[in-house]
Amino acid sequence: MTLEELFYLHNQTIFKYLYYLLNDEKLAEDFTQETFTRFLHYEKSIKAGAELAWLRRTARNLAYDHYRRKRLIQFVPFLQGHEEQEPISPHQWLLQQEEAKALYLAIRQLKLSYRDVIILRKIEGLSIQETCDVLGWNEGKVKNTLKRALAVLQKQLGGDWDD
């Protein structure tokens, strides 16, 4: 598979994951680019068929490194700058629906580990095992964290969110 094919196949997945993890469209774009640049660099050492898992892990490492540098691992403030972007941007597209906007804003207020597991399980649609592989957690931890994350999410959404 050529780089172009791989990029067009997976860039949406990686961008989406980074976007929800970082809450910043520009950063998500930069880190998606960096993830594929690194893939290009380490391409020979990556097994065929394991490309997406490698891309996800690298994207996650980049995001966590970013948070460590910014010392924002537990709390990410609301970024007003998002509201001023071009109407055609993915962010604006996302906020066009009121309920999706409320859900997105609730997710972004979750702590990082809750957000991570919600993105992978509910948005990416990964299985428990796949989530374990990406996060490096065991099955019990994934299930428990997801349960707690959904409970917090429901509380933030006013208690009427039945999922």
Binding site: L3, K16, E29, T37, S45, D65, P90, Q97, K122, D162
Partner: protein, 290 residues
């Protein structure tokens, strides 16, 4: 709108076509720019270790060529050797195992005074256990065989009796600053790893190896180096610093290579290189500077 549709809306998020094209263009550019590059960290690491190794392998050029009557001892090389018919000590401080190199001025002065005041003992049979090679400041050398307080010159067969055993005269007392510096580098190597682990907590479990491939490579390398050093020692009855530095440089370079290959954070690769450098410097100061 149902809850599932709301989740679905979040799932459909995607970068615009323009964003995708921009990213792909930058990735292609980075490919062209980096295809020939060697990492600055690796380059610096290799350069520093190479200079370090070469500085020890070069031959000194300032050997005195004129004879000085008031000559002084410049260096003493002592080597354990039970073979009565062979003199094995070599005039080099780079033989690390089985030979010691003394350059400390206090030790040399003390040894010279002891030789000057030595007595001539009555004839006796001695079991000579050590080679002592003395190099004077004018470049001349003397080869002695030693047994406790007795020294026999292997060329003139002259025997002298010192007031104290040679081993006590050559008792190694090192410069406190050098000791501090040596152990300082050892401490620094640990401190670098500690601070890096604190900074990048997720690498805590990868101190020895970044992944299974790296672990196997480390195991194979350590085994090969052990076999290599043992073979050189058994063949030459000594171990030159070249072999130790060579093995250490290869091992250190491989650490950086495998960690880069495994995609370790840049800060940890840098810490790994600095850690190896500190260990190399500590070894140099503690084993080569007497």
């Amino acid at each position: 709108m149902t809850k599932e549709k709301t989740w679905q809306h979040l799932r459909e998020l995607a970068p615009t076509k323009q964003q995708q094209n921009n990213m792909l263009r930058e990735i292609r550019l980075s490919k062209k720019a980096t295809s020939w590059k060697i990492s600055a960290v690796s380059l610096l690491f290799i350069a520093v270790l190479t200079i370090l190794a070469l500085s020890f392998l070069q031959t000194p050029l300032d050997i005195a060529t004129t004879t000085d009557e008031a000559k002084e001892i410049a260096k003493i090389y002592v080597r354990d050797n039970d073979k009565q018919d062979r003199f094995l000590a070599k005039a080099s401080c780079l033989y690390v195992v089985a030979q010691k190199c003394y350059k400390n001025q206090d030790v040399l002065l003390q040894f010279q005074q002891a030789m000057a005041t030595a007595k001539s003992p009555p004839p006796m049979s001695l079991v000579l256990k050590q080679d002592v090679l003395i190099v004077y400041t004018d470049g001349t050398q003397e080869q002695w065989k030693v047994a406790g307080r007795y020294m026999t010159n292997i060329h003139t067969q002259q025997v002298i009796q010192l007031e104290q055993p040679v081993s006590s005269l050559l008792f190694v007392f090192r410069d406190q600053m050098q000791l501090l510096l040596g152990y300082g580098f050892l401490f620094l190597s640990h401190f670098i790893l500690w601070i890096t682990k604190h900074k990048v907590p997720h690498i805590k479990r990868r101190a020895f190896a970044a992944n299974v491939e790296h672990m196997i490579a480390n195991g194979v390398m350590l085994l090969l180096f052990a076999i290599l050093l043992a073979t050189v020692y058994f063949l030459t009855a000594t171990l030159h610093a070249f072999w130790i530095y060579g093995a250490f440089i290869i091992y250190s370079t491989m650490q950086v290579y495998y960690r880069k290959k495994a995609g370790e954070p840049r800060i940890y690769i840098l810490a790994c290189a600095l850690n190896q450098l500190c260990i190399g410097l500590a070894f140099t100061i503690l084993f080569f500077v007497y």
